[in-house]
């Protein structure tokens, strides 16, 4: 039974070998803040942090984590980035938003005040069909306000 560390808690994953991290989070741990929109690593909606690095949980196998620390949107609910997204109106339907926020947090944890260029580079793997992109950029630019 592998141990999975999520948001500071240690769980014993019961899902069979071959189960994705996204399925373990959503189905086994009921952490449904992490969304799955494509299931094949193309859209970024399922982004979580693995040892601080943005990771596509829908194409990451839970059993391959080897004790790494996983942080989901549920572990970032008090992060200032969340308020900044709401304040900037950086979400419409909201389905891609948790993944956007996780990616944005990963960015600002390594670079406190990213440039517009850096924001666009770091966030280009997170699709938003509603087109909230200008406001997402604004939310990340102003996250410490």
């Amino acid at each position: 039974m592998p141990e999975v560390k999520v948001n500071g808690h240690v769980y014993e994953a019961r899902s069979p070998v071959g189960t994705t991290l996204a399925d373990v989070l959503r189905d086994e741990l009921s952490l449904t803040g992490t969304k799955v929109a494509c299931g094949e690593g193309h859209c970024g909606a399922c982004t979580v942090l693995v040892d601080g690095a943005p990771t596509l949980s829908c194409i990451t196998l839970a059993h391959a984590l080897n004790g790494a620390e996983v942080t989901t949107i549920e572990g970032l609910r008090t992060h200032r980035m969340v308020q900044s997204f709401v304040r900037a109106d950086a979400l419409q339907c909201g389905f891609c938003t948790p993944g956007q926020i996780v990616s944005a947090v990963a960015l600002v944890e390594t670079k406190r005040d990213p440039s517009s260029e850096e924001i666009r580079h770091a966030m280009s793997g997170n699709l938003c069909r509603c087109g909230a992109y200008p406001k997402i950029e604004e939310a990340i630019r102003t996250w410490r306000d």
């Binding site: 803040g33 929109a37 859209c43 979400l91 339907c93 389905f95 891609c96 992109y133």
Partner: protein, 753 residues
């Protein structure tokens, strides 16, 4: 007083005559301009739960004992099921039930497109259901594939009759013209690709069918299922609290809901039927491709004398014929107009409405050719559009309830005037230019729609109505309207929606109709509640009702002697509540209610590689009174970004011989990313439509996407002289257009030079 009327109802450009009981709209419109709450920017009242991942979407729902469905879909674009055997599927572990052709209408033996549903299985896990579907044995007979829309039209393979619309004498108009321009324009298939795929979770609770569904119209699903299943409407409960995007593709129940219901009935368990992303790219609807063969005739002074169009909607195996001729019919004043629109029935997935269906495509063709005309006449493109401004609806002679397009043009001037400076920034290989296009679309909404407002003893209010918020910010806009009318701060108003069993009938979230349909009903309900609060306050304080008002949460008297918190009045009732109700009044009789606007795009074109970038888009739209300027700005930006995808990168490809779809994943189908976004400047005229409801507000969901493609392609023409005739403007199309422009230039050059 309730009144029975016969009226025209419009959704997505489709009209029907209906009987309606409407209530008089007794409230005067508020004066123009920002008020205490309405007209001021508000962040989403449900923003936090969405951002924190707490909002439960249909995709997140897990009911006790829930089974998972998988669907067997046709691998061929046209084929017949000779025989099918479900037994091997039923024999596999975890499988509870299987259905096939004959069990429900949605599963058929003749499949007219790749992805058409044939059979379905439900099992304990989705993986088991998938394995079971793979075990189903089908003997297929492949049939002839017709994938070319012109071919289908030539064969008479159509959906419905061709739509002929004419006024005046087109031939005489052409004869009268000093200049005639012609052009053929093509637009591609574009997919909605909402982030949450189409899906339903259904369960039977006693005699009640509960349907949790990602939808734009909970009450419509209730009515559709009631009719098709023969169940009383009140025995169907449709729930959608949060949904992950629709853009027109989630207006009906869809085959997945019928599959889930049939399987839930057989298995006696809740069933989820959710499309995968790949199924979404096949079988959930699309903006259909079009072919537009257009002619414009004009006098030397720019006056239009004739507009003609032959349009082919490549509709697919099902669907309806979108109003692609609409802009030609309604955008400009021209006495002689003739259009014919065919809906080609081809072996491709059926279309569904997609954000201003028809008008996006038709505006690209018309506005592109209009710029060709402007160049030929030597008239400034903006001036040419002003010259042909339609003061009343040219298609049916009705006056507009409100139209501020000239004001939009005026406000576009500073952006339009940048073109000399933008062009000057061109280099040998990177050419820059500016283009513009006008916008026309519906968006007036209509009755019926109802809302309730309850005010509790704590002085807080809740709007209750069976509508849905599809991500457009509806909850917030409705809360603003109720707060404004009640005189309460915004943070004391909640909105309860998303459940057909908990609120009165509310309209569809499509056709840019949510705010104009629901907003007036919410205001009327809030006014009814406010009237009751003031009646009580008058008795409590022994004052006349007419001197009392509620402002910022306080009951106040005109002379200032009374200033008392609302909860002091309503609190007398303890647990009892004030209940207000409101209805949407009728649209103005004999008037055309439309939205208008203009966009100005700036582009850069690499003439060596054919790459096109959009650098800036300025958008000015007229949608009546603006409720939430922040949400409105988000809508405009989102529409423009979808429009940029439509113009430059998005295209569903298929094999013309087999009809097979070649792009079913999000790496093959190219959605815009944050790196593709230009500078966007948006502005709203914000003038209430004086004839429309107690708000004067129209819808804004669709207008911003309408002119984007045309403005970009006109900017490309301005930058390079090349005429784009096809969307998307791929490098291939751009290089073709550049080559054609060069040849045209060479042919026009004097001999020997």
């Amino acid at each position: 007083m309730a009144r029975l009327i016969r009226t025209e109802k419009e959704v997505e450009g489709r009209y029907e005559e209906v009987w309606l009981v409407v209530e008089e709209d007794a409230l005067e419109q508020w004066p123009a301009g920002p008020r205490d709450v309405v007209g001021r920017p508000a962040t989403r009242i449900d923003g936090l739960e969405r951002a924190r991942g707490e909002a439960v979407y249909t995709a997140d729902l897990k009911l006790p004992g829930m089974l998972h469905a998988a669907v067997l879909r046709s691998p061929f674009a046209h084929a017949r099921v000779r025989s099918i055997d479900l037994e091997p599927a039923l024999a596999l572990p975890g499988v509870h039930a299987a259905i096939g052709p004959g069990d429900i209408d949605q599963l058929e033996t003749e499949c007219g497109y790749q992805g058409a549903p044939v059979a379905a299985v439900c099992a304990d896990t989705y993986e088991q259901a998938r394995a079971a579907v793979a075990a189903i044995e089908v003997d297929w007979e492949q049939l002839e594939v017709v994938a070319d829309p012109d071919d289908a039209v030539a064969r008479g393979q159509l959906i419905g009759e061709p739509r002929e619309r004419a006024r005046g004498d087109f031939a005489a108009g052409l004869a009268e013209a000093d200049v005639v321009v012609e052009g053929e324009y093509r637009t591609q298939v574009v997919l909605h690709n909402s982030m949450e795929t189409h899906q339903s979770v259904v369960q039977w609770v006693g005699d009640t069918l509960e349907v949790y569904i990602s939808t734009q119209y909970i009450w419509g699903i209730r009515n559709e299922l009631s009719e098709s299943l023969g169940l009383p409407g009140d025995d169907i409960r449709v729930v959608c609290h949060y949904m992950g995007g629709g853009f027109g593709s989630k207006n009906d129940a869809g085959d997945y809901t019928y599959i889930a219901i049939a399987l839930a009935s057989r298995a006696n368990r809740p069933v989820r039927c959710a499309l995968t992303r790949r199924e979404e790219n096949l079988a959930s609807g699309n903006r259909n491709a079009t072919i537009q063969r257009l002619t414009i005739g004009a006098k030397a002074d720019g006056t239009l004398t004739a507009l003609g169009g032959e349009y082919v909607n490549a509709t697919g195996w099902g669907g309806w014929s979108s109003p692609v001729e609409g802009p030609m019919q309604q955008l400009y004043s021209c006495p002689n107009v003739k259009t014919t629109t065919y809906a080609a029935k081809i072996n491709q997935p059926p279309m569904k409405a997609f954000r201003a269906p028809g008008f996006v495509e038709g505006t690209f063709g018309l506005e592109s050719l209009l710029d060709v005309l402007a160049a030929k006449l030597g008239i400034d493109p903006l001036e040419l559009r002003r010259l042909n401004y339609a003061a009343h609806d040219p298609a049916d002679d009705r006056p507009f309830s409100g139209k501020n397009l000239l004001e939009c043009y005026r406000r576009a001037e500073p952006h339009w005037n940048r073109r000399h400076e933008v062009r000057a920034r061109s280099t040998e290989t990177i050419k820059r230019g500016v283009g513009m296009a006008s916008q026309i679309w519906y968006g007036g909404g209509g009755p019926p729609s109802y809302a309730w407002v309850r005010v509790g003893g704590d002085g807080r209010a809740t709007v209750v109505t069976a509508m849905q918020d599809i991500g457009t910010g509806t909850r917030t806009a409705m809360a603003q309207i109720a707060a404004e009318e009640l005189g309460l701060p915004l943070d004391r108003v909640n909105v309860s929606l998303g459940d057909s069993a908990r609120g009165p009938f509310a309209s569809i979230s499509a056709g840019s109709s949510t705010t104009p349909s629901m907003g007036p009903a919410v205001r009327a309900a809030a006014a009814d509640a406010k009237r009751q609060i003031i009646e009580i306050a008058a008795q409590l304080h022994d004052l006349e009702e007419r001197v009392l008002d509620i402002r910022n949460g306080n009951v106040v008297s005109a002379d200032g002697s009374l200033n008392s918190p609302v909860e002091k009045v309503v609190g007398l009732l303890e647990s009892a509540q004030i209940l207000g109700q409101g209805a949407r009044g009728p649209n103005p009789t004999g008037m055309q209610v439309l939205t208008f606007g203009v966009q100005v795009a700036e582009v850069a074109v690499d003439v060596e590689t054919g790459e096109v970038w959009v650098e800036r888009v300025a958008a000015i739209h007229d949608v009546g009174r603006v409720i939430n300027p922040l949400g409105a700005q988000s809508q405009i930006e989102g529409g423009i970004i979808q429009g940029i995808g439509h113009t430059l990168s998005e295209r569903r490809l298929h094999d013309p011989n087999t009809g097979q779809i070649l792009t079913t994943t999000l790496d093959a189908y190219k959605l815009p990313t944050i790196a593709d976004v230009p500078e966007i400047v948006s502005e709203l005229v914000d003038e209430p439509d004086g004839h429309l409801t107690n708000l004067g507000s129209k819808g804004l969901g669709e207008p911003p996407i309408v002119p984007t493609a045309a403005a970009i392609s006109n900017a490309v023409r301005d930058a390079t002289g090349a005429e784009v005739h096809e969307l998307p403007i791929s490098r291939e199309e751009m290089l073709r257009a550049l080559k054609e422009a060069k040849e045209r230039e060479r042919a026009a050059a004097p001999a020997g030079v």
